[in-house]
């Protein structure tokens, strides 16, 4: 599975968030960390894959399928996104209802929705939270439940936007081990270099909406001058 950006330009709130951005992310290379300082365009890049922002120029392809409003539903059935703010993602009253939201929208029968919900919660070690109110979870629990909501849709690609932004070190380690156990291809936007090292064999560094560098995480993350140039060190 390949995700390609070809000279993609995206404007957001009157500013150019992605500027003639070109990159290819191949699932065969393993999870990829999208690194960059604040405002580098990481979140916009992820949201653009799901067609949440109009593409001003260029194209984004998921395999051979271009990201267009017409294809948005097909793309979103294959690609899931965990948002930075878990409160924006969890809006149903109970955890089980929230996790079932995606599979229900896929039009699956109720028994299948129930089975997927249970499986997803189990894989995120959150079965015991099923009947809890989504607003009364800790940040780590919210993150795991958000991820369960996406896993229940069985996506081929999972996009994670700053997954460690509100987690303590232990919750970060737990999340990293959970992510490593998932079969889906992951693109993880973060500026947490330790987390990127732990979870992603590949990485791409963004700066002002352009690709600054991409390659093996083990090499790029040791390049101090590159990290300084990108505002990451």
């Amino acid at each position: 599975m390949k995700l390609s950006f070809q000279n993609a330009t995206i404007q957001r709130d009157g500013l150019t968030a992605l500027d003639q951005f070109t990159a290819v992310f191949d699932s065969s290379n393993g999870a990829c960390a999208i690194l960059g300082a604040n405002g580098a365009g990481k979140s916009t890049m992820l949201a653009a894959i799901l067609g949440l922002f109009p593409i001003a120029e260029g194209t984004i392809l998921l395999d051979e399928t271009p990201v267009t409003p017409q294809n948005a539903r097909a793309i979103r059935a294959r690609v899931g996104m965990v948002f930075q703010d878990a409160d924006a993602q969890l809006f149903n009253q109970s955890v089980a209802e929230d996790v079932a939201f995606g599979p229900t929208n896929l039009g699956l029968p109720p028994e299948e929705v129930q089975a997927r919900t249970t499986d997803a919660l189990r894989s995120m070690r959150a079965e015991h939270l099923a009947q809890r109110d989504v607003t009364r979870l800790s940040c780590g629990e919210k993150r795991r439940v958000s991820l369960a909501g996406i896993l229940a849709m069985r996506p081929e690609v999972i996009l994670l936007d700053e997954p460690t932004s509100d987690l303590d070190p232990r919750a970060c380690r737990e999340l990293a081990s959970l992510l490593q156990s998932l079969p889906a291809f992951q693109l993880i936007a973060t500026h947490d270099l330790a987390f990127a090292r732990r979870t992603c064999p590949q990485c791409a560094i963004l700066q002002k909406g352009k690709l600054l560098a991409s390659g093996k995480a083990s090499e790029l993350l040791e390049n101090q001058s590159l990290l300084e140039e990108a505002g990451l060190a």
Binding site: A47, A72, R76, G80, F83, F91, N92
Partner: protein
């Protein structure tokens, strides 16, 4: 601190805050049907039938208590609607002073009877809806409404409005708390600041609402698609629903 914002949030979070009791396990459709029947019958009492209205208004409390939902929990929420009713009802006391015989040796001015009737109807109907909300989530209620053929756009509007109201009140509470923390010595918020506070709350709720809508779209939400219907009630639930509605109709017409 208990203020109107906290009260409004408490009403919207009724389902989260309530003990769901045995009613929580019942399919949503029977609960919605019985509640609607109760509402229709409760408002059908004539304006001077205070005794019957009061006895009928007690039903949600009795039923709630049987199902382990505290009458106090229902009364607390129902009482939030009373100021509106009192505003309307008190005027009746002024305009309608003709005595009406309630018991053989007791006559009460008509306006007072109307006021008492309105209070009873409010406490009964709001408690019945609270009982439904306490034991049934908004998603389940929406599904039940869909199976009653309520048009999909109306049900989706109801869901989104519910979520938006909660967001707006939560944002407003955050702003008001931040204000008090930086103005600890002030008593209340001066009128001149309320415009900014309300505007900020709407803008922030709008932003959060937008983010939530994005997340819903990513999980394939489409307001134009029909909502899934709930599981069909079991025959026992269907029988209990019919009996409950018949019992309500019976009580309505045999109460004094």
């Amino acid at each position: 601190m208990s203020n109107p914002l906290d009260n409004a949030i408490a009403v919207l979070r009724t389902h989260q805050d309530a003990e769901h009791g045995p009613l929580g396990a019942v399919s949503p459709l029977p609960k919605v049907l019985v509640t609607f029947s109760y509402l229709l019958l409760a408002v059908s009492f004539r304006m001077h039938d205070v005794l019957g209205t009061a006895l009928f208004a007690a039903l949600p409390y009795v039923f709630g208590a049987i199902c382990r939902i505290s009458p106090w929990f229902l009364l607390k929420r129902a009482s939030l609607a009373l100021p509106f009713v009192l505003c309307a009802g008190l005027a009746n006391c002024w305009f309608d002073r003709v005595p009406v015989a309630v018991l053989p040796h007791l006559a009460i001015p008509g306006g007072v009877l109307v006021l008492l009737g309105l209070v009873c109807k409010t406490l009964g109907t709001v408690s019945a809806v609270t009982l439904l909300a306490a034991t049934t989530s908004i998603t389940q209620i929406s599904a039940a409404l869909t199976s009653l053929h309520v048009p999909c756009p109306i049900v989706v509007q109801l869901q989104l409005l519910f979520r938006y109201l909660l967001l707006t009140f939560e944002e407003m509470r955050t702003i008001v708390t931040a204000y008090h923390l930086r103005a600890a010595s002030s008593r209340g918020i001066p009128l001149r600041h309320w415009g900014t506070i309300v505007t900020r709350a709407f803008l922030r709720a709008g932003n959060r609402g937008n983010a939530i809508y994005f997340a819903m779209q990513c999980r394939l939400f489409d307001a134009r698609r029909p909502l899934p219907k709930p599981a069909r009630p079991s025959w026992q639930e269907s029988l209990a629903t019919v009996l409950a509605i018949l019992a309500l109709v019976g009580l309505r017409y045999f109460l004094p």
